[in-house]
Amino acid sequence: MKFSIPIGPQHPALKEPISLRMTVEGEVIRDADIRLGYNHRGLEKLAEEKTWIQNIYLTERICGICSHSHATCYVQGVEKLMDIVPPKRGLYLRFLVAELERVHSHLLWLGVAGHEAGFDTFFMYTWRDREIVMDMLEAISGNRVHYAINTLGGVRRDLDEGLRQKILSQLDILRRRTEFYIKIGANEPTFVGRLAGVGKLSKEKAMELCAVGPMARASDIARDVRRDDPYGIYAETPFEVSTADTCDVLGRVVVRVKELFQCYNLIEFMLKNLPSGEVKVKAPRRAKPGEVVSRYEAPRGENMHYIVSGGADKPERLKVRAPTLANYPATVEMLKNGFIADIPLIFAAIDPCICCAERTVETVDLRTGEEKVLRFSELRTLAQERFDKNPRKGTGLWPF
């Protein structure tokens, strides 16, 4: 007997609103339907109204966990349009913060995976160690999230010697703790029992559905923008792509933990070989006309920004393709023939950053099931018709 369970938009398993309608038969899922749009904020339209500098802070706020990746992706693109090259020290500092962000994001994900599996002790331990990274980021940039260290032409703040030594010493603590988490992850039978064999995505299916990031790397596809299309300083830093071949959630855990170790090596390399010099160059107010595609390896996968400039001091079009959006079709594939008990784990394994992925809105008529994409002018007409039919009573208070 099939019936459909709604997971979301409000659900304790989800940190952000998304609607997954599962058709289940007993405890086995037969089909899944993903509906987006609950977190749509109109960012791409707003970016057309703000200048190049103001947009750095706007793109940073697309997401809280991968804020630096969106800001860096955008700034890289605009620097290409404006034809300016940041100095080496600036680039090193920019990607130092990027790797620290990757560490904090993977530790966060490990905790969330533990919490979804019911393993709260693991969750508390990983988040306690994540505080070390947050304190380091606060000392470098002045804030724990939304670091705002990028500017057009480099970074805004410099790193002094005392802080550099402090970060190097904290790296040892982090390395030891990560090895401890590998020990728990591999040896705790209840944890492994929940993760092994769950959410299988074969290599062919992952290629066909265009999975990105650790999802694809856990299915033995060695694809990483830092190696395929090196941007910034990744052409000269020692770094290997981490893959696993078990194609399930356990493989994704292994990939992320391996990436953590790669991050520690990269941070150590960057700190030890930090070149001296300026941290930024002056950027012009206007950008030359043109278009650019900027790619970046966010903690969740490949992040892409497409920027069009018309020669003004504002962009003409900014399009954001976040990695989670590319992973949604693969999620539907993974959910089929899984158990209900595995839904939170499968969904958490793609490391969903739902607010990164909110772009267009499609309306579904509940009664007829008809779907269509509405233009803004059509929405405005609908709103005005409704207002004409039900005039406002005039009892509300304007808040400003």
Binding site: P12, G118, T121, F122
Partner: protein
Amino acid sequence: MAVLKTVLYLIVYPGILFLFVYATFVEWFDRKVYARLQNRMGPTHTGRFGLLQPIADFVKLMSKEDIVPDKADKTLFTLLPIFGLAIVATAGLLLPVWHTNPLQPGFNSFPGDIIILLYLLSLPTLIFFLAGWSSTNLFSAIGGSRVLTMLFGYEVPLFLAVLSPALLAGSWRLAEIAAFYRQHPLLILPNLIGFAVALVCVQAKLERTPFDIPHAETEIVGGTFTEYSGKKLAFFRLMTDIELVVCSGLLATVFLGGFGGGIFLGFLQFIGKTLAVVFLLSLMRAVTGRIRIDQVVSFAWKYLAPLAVLQLLIVIFIKGWVL
């Protein structure tokens, strides 16, 4: 006079008032140990050391709005928490706390009371299923079916494990079993396998990690308790707390030698032994993650039931050959 004394026992000690105070204390202890194991603080600011936190939670829940879903079966929905509380409180009366001398039995000690206690402890599972079913909510229905599926897993090993020491002691009366183990303390050792099995089964009965599938927060919102709020939810939570006290009291009586030594010393032994059992249960809660329902049933039948049978065989062997 005897009627007054009985009423006093029923209301004050070891009746509902004592159970309420002790159950909230045990919940505080459980939460504090769980938090310290995870390097956190646990309840700290309500009352000294956070001791009043569970009582504060209870009072807060009692004062919240009570919402009954439209399509739910109203009589069943309302009566189930009250029934549940009554059942576990009655089970609490059967623990041999007050009259521990088997020669002067009180009103709460009679041959066969271990069977009655186990039966009364199986009823809450049925109450949870009915609560989930009468809510007519999809998540509650799934939670209710999971509760009953788990019952198929842990009930048999629990019964076998708890009845083995009773076989060794040669009696079906809790006070006599406890007295037997107080006189022959060395005979506690052959029952250790049964103790471990009973600990795991009690963890499953109380629906705590690793067996908290029926009300798994991250999957099915609240499981059987999804639609409950206000006073009814307060009663359900008090019911699970008292169930924790009763189960740990049962394990302490049957496996750890009961609570002897008169009124005052017996009371201290009761607190000490039940807190030891609760500490072990909290440790189990912190060490493991949640396992799936099919894994629970397969784990129970592959490992717990054979171990319980092994324990039974050991007991029969010792009784037949040694004693």
